[in-house]
Symmetry: C2
Amino acid sequence: MNAAEASPAAVTAPASGDVGLVVPRDFVTTEPFTFESGQTLPGFTLRYETYGRLNAAGDNAVLICHALSGDHHCAGRHTAADRKPGWWDNLIGPGKAVDTDKFFVLCANVPGGCQGSSGPSSPDPATGRPHGIAFPFVTIRDMVRAQKRWLDSLGVNKLFALLGGSMGGMQALQFGIEYPGFCARLVLMAMTARESAQAIAFNEVGRQAIMQDPAWNGGNYQKDGGPRVGLAIARMMAHITYVSDASMDRKFGRKKKAGAAGDAYTFDGQFEVESYLKHQGESFINRFDANSYLYITRAIDHFDLAAAYGSLEAAFAHVEARSLVLGFTSDWLFPPSQSRAIALALLRAGKRASYAELDTDLGHDSFLLESPQLYDLVRGFLV
Amino acid sequence: MNAAEASPAAVTAPASGDVGLVVPRDFVTTEPFTFESGQTLPGFTLRYETYGRLNAAGDNAVLICHALSGDHHCAGRHTAADRKPGWWDNLIGPGKAVDTDKFFVLCANVPGGCQGSSGPSSPDPATGRPHGIAFPFVTIRDMVRAQKRWLDSLGVNKLFALLGGSMGGMQALQFGIEYPGFCARLVLMAMTARESAQAIAFNEVGRQAIMQDPAWNGGNYQKDGGPRVGLAIARMMAHITYVSDASMDRKFGRKKKAGAAGDAYTFDGQFEVESYLKHQGESFINRFDANSYLYITRAIDHFDLAAAYGSLEAAFAHVEARSLVLGFTSDWLFPPSQSRAIALALLRAGKRASYAELDTDLGHDSFLLESPQLYDLVRGFLV
């Protein structure tokens, strides 16, 4: 596939700094794929989007890796009526920090996901029914290897840069380790080289909420069915870990819902923060698959570069990319100390790395939010 | 009731610094009780324990108030075979910081609780079936007023001191506000004068896990039945908030369970922290009632002294007790800043108050744990 063919996604000219309407595409491979677990698939699909155009030299590709609940749709809109653009639309677009006038930007939904890529909810060709938890166990390295095959198919032979936050940062760093010459720059945000016990614990509570919901049924359920209650509980809890005490207090404090005064002595949600969380849970179950939640949280829990390579320095021994590591002061899920440790290990391994800590009280999700300081750092690094 | 009758609980002589075998007793009143909500009960029961003896002057009573998942059994053992003593046995006993050789120590299970006091799981005399959520809504102030009636019945006309951590501290402070001349000293640990949005949010996720469990059934279920799955999820999550990232990391880190290596690619708990949390959930459902969990978390959420009295200073205007306020550096559920704010408001209101911040990485539950520094502070204050 040549460069011109590789970027058909932006079908309308961008207006006012956004990439306009985009059409997701599917990469379908029928070559068998062996996961780290040893399990294999006869092939797989990755749904992806691209914005901008690969230049003639083929040296302007920028890969975006998404986090747990993200997907391939990181910029633009699918229809003019879409209420919201892609999840990183504030960062990606013409003239933005990841400038689609300069870069050919790509993003794929990870294997194990539920937005079009092969995962537990996609049909097993052998039976026509969803794979369920018979789908192979997925690791961060599997996500990276699958995406590499997709990038190869597009003729993307090198990446100008690779950006990711949270689990996206794990993939980006794993890319830098696995394919040293492939990627020139890594931007690693709000991430960790291995979760703490507390982060594993939160993920486990979410998994238990899902797996102990009777509707989970051992992972066998129909689309739009399944453990919706358990998944909503998991999401409500996880959402608390994505923000911060200070930001929740500023946004909601102890404000009561309108009309809640009259029924102050009930168990119904009376505080605005309760309704907000409930809404987070309810909207999540309409867009996310519970089995994918199990797979992806497990992939995150298992990510442990020091254990996999002996030490962080050993893991980074062959990295060639320059790295910009960004921590966020109020991130208590993957605290900035964990990002700092990555930058320090890169430096100790003799690599080019910078670390910046952004002062924000918006918590882990800060990397997704409006931040001129973040934009400047990214823009400055992508030159 | 005279002093001698008031302390039959310690039935054997204490050995090696503990209060020995104790027998819980029931305070039963048939006088109607009106809750803050306006709902009434024709009477109620509080289960309680006492240790030590009320002296002839009647001025050595020390009340202990328990936290969310605690109860009246705070010291000693019920049988010689008990694996564990009461929940604050490290603090209370002959020669301990709360010295039962000197003090007559009392503790009652709160109304709304499930360890013998009237609550949603106790039978409604009218029907013989559990009250369920027809039980009146309970506030911290209701807990305090009910305990005052019990103390009156025992002939306890004043308290030398009142100690509580977390929700126990809320009760203690409310006691000091509600009955100014009644209590001479307050020890308030790991508490808050009002929860932040984040703490409400965690409680709400727990309540949703319970109420959305089909076995909750609108609060109608038989003992040993009910929303055991939801309650376990609520407890697992809450437990994370009682400890700290650092303490979990030190205790478990990323250690795998013995034998887990062989099945690394499954969703079963592989990390020790996962088994530990699961155990926390499972043991909790065998001792706690899900409806009580709803009632008590709601009481905590609604506690807001500044809102109830106009300001903290106004709330404290009539307090006569001296207060020792203790915060714990790693408590992220009720951060030490919230304890400090209470001490400062007491001082601003012209009251005698001290604040100490204990340096610990054990999180919110620090007030329950072995700490010579804590013991010294309490001992020094109770003179």
